[in-house]
């Protein structure tokens, strides 16, 4: 009979460094100033987060517009036991939030305290970090206005 198998912790960690390009660069730079930017399509609808190309027509997009940092939860999922790499260390919701002025939803965090506080159609607003760095983690959503 062989000796028991050896085991050891193994951490695989690496950091992607992604060049943002002109449009996303403006989106992230605006986050540092506590502003959320969308991009306007030819038909006048606004995509948030801003992106470089129209997903339907593939046209280049570069008309950035500021939207509100308040909006509506269109769908959500409760995370009862967050993992180490997730944005908050206590239970929270991932939600698709349609910001006021936007025609699309964005996936982000709602720090609602408990699952009972979450509902589709609820209003949320951004709670900004004391010090922003130009990252999507500069804010989370919280219930109410």
């Amino acid at each position: 009979m062989s000796e028991p198998s050896l085991t050891a912790p193994h951490q695989l960690a690496y950091t992607y460094k992604r060049s943002l390009g002109p449009v996303l660069s403006r989106f992230f730079t605006a986050l540092r100033d506590r502003k959320i930017l969308g991009v306007k399509r030819k038909d006048g609808t606004v995509l948030v987060p801003a992106r470089e190309y129209d997903p339907d027509t593939a046209e280049s997009l570069d008309e950035l517009v500021e939207v509100q940092d308040t909006g509506v939860v269109r769908s959500w999922s409760w995370v009862p036991k967050p993992r180490a790499q997730q944005p908050l260390d206590h239970p929270f919701a991932y939600a698709l939030v349609q910001l006021d002025g936007a025609d699309t939803t964005m996936l982000h965090v709602v720090d609602a305290g408990s699952e009972a506080q979450m509902a589709t159609g609820m209003r949320v607003k951004a709670r900004w970090a004391k010090e922003t760095s130009g990252a999507i983690t500069d804010f989370v959503f919280v219930p109410g206005e």
């Binding site: 062989s2 085991t7 951490q11 690496y14 403006r26």
Partner: protein, 164 residues
């Protein structure tokens, strides 16, 4: 606060595993803790795989326990690369040389680094392992610090050409 535009986005990825080595690799790791390099011989064609593993990847047969082969810590460079680009997690000073070493008696190559001249590294160069001090040995291939050239004639190309 900086006024420069944000042009780069850093996304750290971190995955934490509990790695279980399994019977064969555990035997290999316990041997290297004693300074021994264990390969395993395929019962079908007699090729020696290093590090030892549980089964033959070519013939899909289990390796018998008595197929373990102790290999010397010297061999031949079958190919190499000079690294001039830094990597996170690799603290070596640039440039450095990575080598594929065919240990004497083995049929698979081991990737490691060579402490040698950029000008003289070549295919066929004979090398030996330089080990950490014995009291620092653990169940890890990192017990070998690097390889260094031996004062020997180069290996004949035919002796390693099928392992390139």
């Amino acid at each position: 606060m900086s006024e420069d535009p944000i042009e780069v986005f850093l996304q750290p990825i971190q995955l934490d595993y509990d790695y279980t080595a399994g019977v064969s690799a555990s035997r290999f790791l316990r041997a290297i803790e004693q300074g021994k390099l264990l390969g395993q011989r395929c019962p079908v064609d007699g090729r020696v795989y290093f590090p030892s593993r549980g089964s033959c990847p070519q013939h899909a047969v289990p390796f018998a326990d008595d197929g373990a082969v102790e290999l010397p810590d010297r061999g031949t460079i079958v190919t190499y690369s000079i690294v001039r680009v830094p990597s996170e997690n690799i603290p070596l000073e640039l440039p450095y040389i990575t080598v594929q070493v065919l240990l004497d008696g083995a049929d698979t190559v081991l990737m490691h680094v060579l402490d040698g001249d950029l000008d003289t590294v070549r295919m066929g160069l004979r090398v030996e392992a330089v080990w950490k001090p014995k009291e620092e040995w653990t169940t890890s291939l990192a017990n070998i610090l690097y390889f260094r050239p031996l004062d020997e004639p180069d290996a004949d190309y035919d002796s390693y050409k099928e392992h390139i």
